[in-house]
């Protein structure tokens, strides 16, 4: 189905080859997981298969690439025999409704209108998209990826390629995507998935291919999976093949309509919810308030009249990492924006017992955003670190860079770094900002095992420096490593 023979590839802007001597054969109907540490070339391997290399990205290609028996001549040709799903569900949509998105490829390939309508109806039924309501941008991440998969196979390609499809998904979103992949596999679609998270693929994969330095370093077939130990995975720098255990972290003290009471889970009865939450909270709030940190009181936010966040009271202590979890739409990002003074709200925010105005909070808060390109302002790594660093922290610059694996890049332009490196740079600036409140918003999307650990160390350092550290994350691997407290939010009905 797909054949890569002794392929070598270097991006035009990069001096070293990202793919070097890659040999890989994928058979029809097979499900293959391509994994490996950051920079091992797994995304590039996928781009070779859908022709984005060399028809979209510039660089130098050697070796042979064949898809469905043919060499790739242009993107539309390979687009007819492969479908592609990318990391960010929302960015790849061209339209705003499910049916137009499904029709998009068929329209472009010149399919007759009545055939398009018929096929769109079939796919809506097959993927049960009729049960999703509203515009694409209003769906949850998992639902969006379900639509993205459906839109990628509407024109009937025998192969689906997925590039880190879960990196922005919640556990529920991952379950949603897993069901879609199982369905595609059962109907005979060839699946190639480049991924860091492996646990959800254990039951699906026929083969796991581990890449290192641009070539295949190891291959494990399905019957070898049971023998793979945690130790072996760690050696390869891979994330665990077992589903992360539900972490048991002390609940942060807080209550209100947006806060999921600590002792009840959604499956428990509703009536015990309020009581459980209140008893868990009251004594702790009084005791911890003395230790410093942030106290939220009567925080309410609404968008267009619809309430999105309602916290009666919550305490985020200084010196520890508080994880903010909960499903999409529970108000996690809104809470971060309230804390940072970027969001209008009613109620008050206190730091160490003193009320803080919104502009004051903007000066006391640092955020590591999900899309870090938005926060890189200068023309070199050193300049970026100097911008907004406090003098007493500036001495730590070298240590922080080394710890985050960035010490060789100090004169590079921040935008020339890889995605993971850019993210670690923003983490470094947050570390050196000396701010009292530091918020990490999904810092681990697309991060491998080793960098998960260095990310955790940095957050720990910031917390030990006396800051209030908030970690917004879906990533169970990261939560297990880093969270000291958990503030679990729920959508307001």
């Amino acid at each position: 189905m797909i054949e890569l023979k002794n392929v070598r590839w270097a991006y035009q802007e990069g001096d070293t080859a990202v793919i070097d001597g890659l040999d890989l054969r994928i058979r029809r109907g097979e499900t293959v997981v391509v994994c490996g540490p950051s920079g091992s070339g797994k995304s590039s391997a996928l781009r070779l298969m859908n022709g984005l290399i060399p028809h979209f990205h510039d660089g130098k290609l050697e070796g042979e690439v064949r898809v469905a028996g043919e060499p790739i001549t242009d993107l539309a040709q390979v687009g007819r025999v492969t479908g592609t799903v990318l990391q960010h569900p929302r960015r790849q949509f061209f339209t705003d409704t499910i049916d137009t998105e499904l029709a998009f490829a068929l329209e472009n390939f010149g399919t007759p209108p009545e055939r398009i309508r018929e096929r769109v109806r079939e796919v809506v039924a097959e993927f049960r998209l009729g049960e999703l309501d509203g515009r694409l941008r209003e769906l949850s991440g998992g639902q969006q990826q379900r639509v993205a998969c459906a839109a990628a196979v509407t024109h009937g390609p025998p192969t689906l390629l997925l590039d880190e499809p879960t990196s922005n998904l919640s556990p529920q979103g991952i379950a949603d995507l897993t069901a879609v992949l199982r369905h595609l596999r059962e109907r005979g679609t060839t699946l190639v998935i480049a991924e860091h998270r492996l646990h959800y693929l254990r039951e699906l994969a026929d083969r796991i291919v581990v890449m290192q330095d641009g070539r295949v370093a190891k291959e494990w077939s399905r019957d070898e999976f049971p023998r793979l130990t945690e130790e072996m995975m760690r050696e390869e720098g891979l994330r665990s093949l077992d589903a992360p255990k539900r972490i048991h972290v002390a609940p942060a003290s807080g209550h209100g309509p947006s806060v999921q009471p600590a002792k009840t889970r959604p499956e428990d009865t509703e009536s015990t919810g309020e009581a459980g939450g209140a008893t868990a909270v009251a004594p702790a709030a009084g005791r911890e308030a003395a230790g410093g940190g942030v106290v939220l009181r009567g925080i309410r936010c609404a968008f267009r009249g619809r309430p999105v966040l309602d916290i009666t009271e919550a305490h985020l202590p200084a010196g520890v990492i508080t994880a903010v979890t909960g499903p999409n739409g529970a108000g996690k990002t809104t809470l971060a924006r309230v804390l940072a003074g970027l969001q209008r709200h009613s109620g008050e925010v206190l730091l160490d017992g003193r009320t803080m105005s919104r502009s004051r909070r903007q000066r006391e808060t640092a955020i590591v955003m999900q899309d870090v390109q938005r926060q890189l302002f200068t023309d070199s790594v050193t300049a970026e670190l100097r911008l907004g660093a406090v003098p007493e922290q500036a001495g730590h610059a070298a240590t922080v860079l080394a710890d985050l694996d960035l010490d060789r890049f100090d004169e590079r332009h921040p935008l020339s770094l890889s995605g993971g490196q850019q993210q670690r740079l923003v983490v470094a600036t947050a570390r050196l900002s000396g701010r009292r409140v530091v918020i990490f918003d999904e810092p681990s999307s697309g991060v491998d095992r080793r960098h998960l650990q260095s990310m955790t160390r940095t957050m720990r350092d910031v917390a030990e420096g006396g800051a209030v550290v908030l970690l917004i994350s879906h990533d169970a691997d990261l939560l297990a490593l880093a969270a000291d407290r958990e503030l679990r939010l729920r959508p307001i009905r």
Binding site: A76, G79, R80, F109, V124, G142, A175
Partner: protein
């Protein structure tokens, strides 16, 4: 169900609410060609000399379109904005006849014309999915190069606006967004704003164009459309209403 049935097994998905699938294009929406024609006609007449005469007609048209779209906020905002601009243009110079206010008054007059056209443009942007817009342009025999880039532009404007807001937030948190800073180092402030904006927009653009090209955008000389544009009752109503508005304006002018 899995295995035998061709349907996706969603029991694991946690979504069970049945709802109607996204239906065909509603009969209530205008054909893109009608909307574009009304917008063009309104812009040309209103921006031409003496075009002020047609401002009330365009405002009424914009409000009617907003009502059809159920955009209640715009139904109210349009006349309010127009009234403000008109007050600045005509009442302010009367109240205080200073030369500086004269300039402000002229600008008010321009804003009034702009508001009148913007009401109709807003309807087009809000209701027209990029693919339908392209289909309409294609059926008007607009060259390929314009239809593809036009639809990409229509798709991308909201993305850039969202990125700009996020960059502004990031600047405020790094202490770069203050007015004082902006006045003291205007060039540097612009750089701090534009560099990340371009970088993050490019990244989204890369994903979008990769996904669009792989799904064949621009690959065929004759792409098709799931719902080929067709004039319907809504277009007839729109044309009658526009004709009535124009006639009323001309009669009123003749009667003065």
């Amino acid at each position: 169900m899995s295995g035998t049935s061709p349907q996706l097994d969603t029991t694991a998905l946690g979504v069970t609410v049945p709802g109607p699938p996204e239906g065909a294009v509603s009969r209530r929406t205008l054909d893109p060609r009608t909307a574009v024609a009304i917008l063009l006609a309104a812009s040309i007449t209103i921006m031409a000399p003496g075009g002020l005469l047609f401002v009330p007609a365009a405002l009424v048209a914009g409000m009617l379109l907003a009502i059809a779209e159920r955009a209640w906020r715009r139904v109210l905002a349009l006349p309010l904005a127009a009234a403000t601009a008109a007050a600045v243009a005509y009442l302010l110079p009367l109240a205080a006849p200073w030369p500086v206010l004269g300039i402000v008054g002229v600008m008010g007059g321009f804003s009034l014309r702009l508001v009148a056209v913007a009401g109709i443009a807003a309807h087009l942007i809000e209701t027209m999915p990029p693919t339908r817009f392209t289909a309409a342009l294609r059926s008007m025999r607009v060259p390929h190069a314009f239809t593809v880039s036009g639809s990409v532009l229509l798709r991308f404007v909201p993305t850039i606006l969202a990125e700009a807001r996020a960059v502004r937030d990031a600047m405020r948190l790094r202490g770069l967004g203050g007015w004082l800073d902006m006045l003291r180092h205007p060039v540097r402030s612009i750089e701090y704003f534009t560099v990340p904006l371009i970088a993050s927009s490019l990244r989204s653009a890369e994903d979008l164009s990769a996904s669009a090209l792989l799904r064949g955008l621009g690959s065929q000389p004759h792409p098709t459309s799931m719902h080929p544009p067709r004039f319907g009752p809504a277009d007839v109503v729109a044309v009658i209403v526009v004709a009535a508005l124009v006639t009323a304006t001309l009669l009123w002018e003749a009667g003065r």
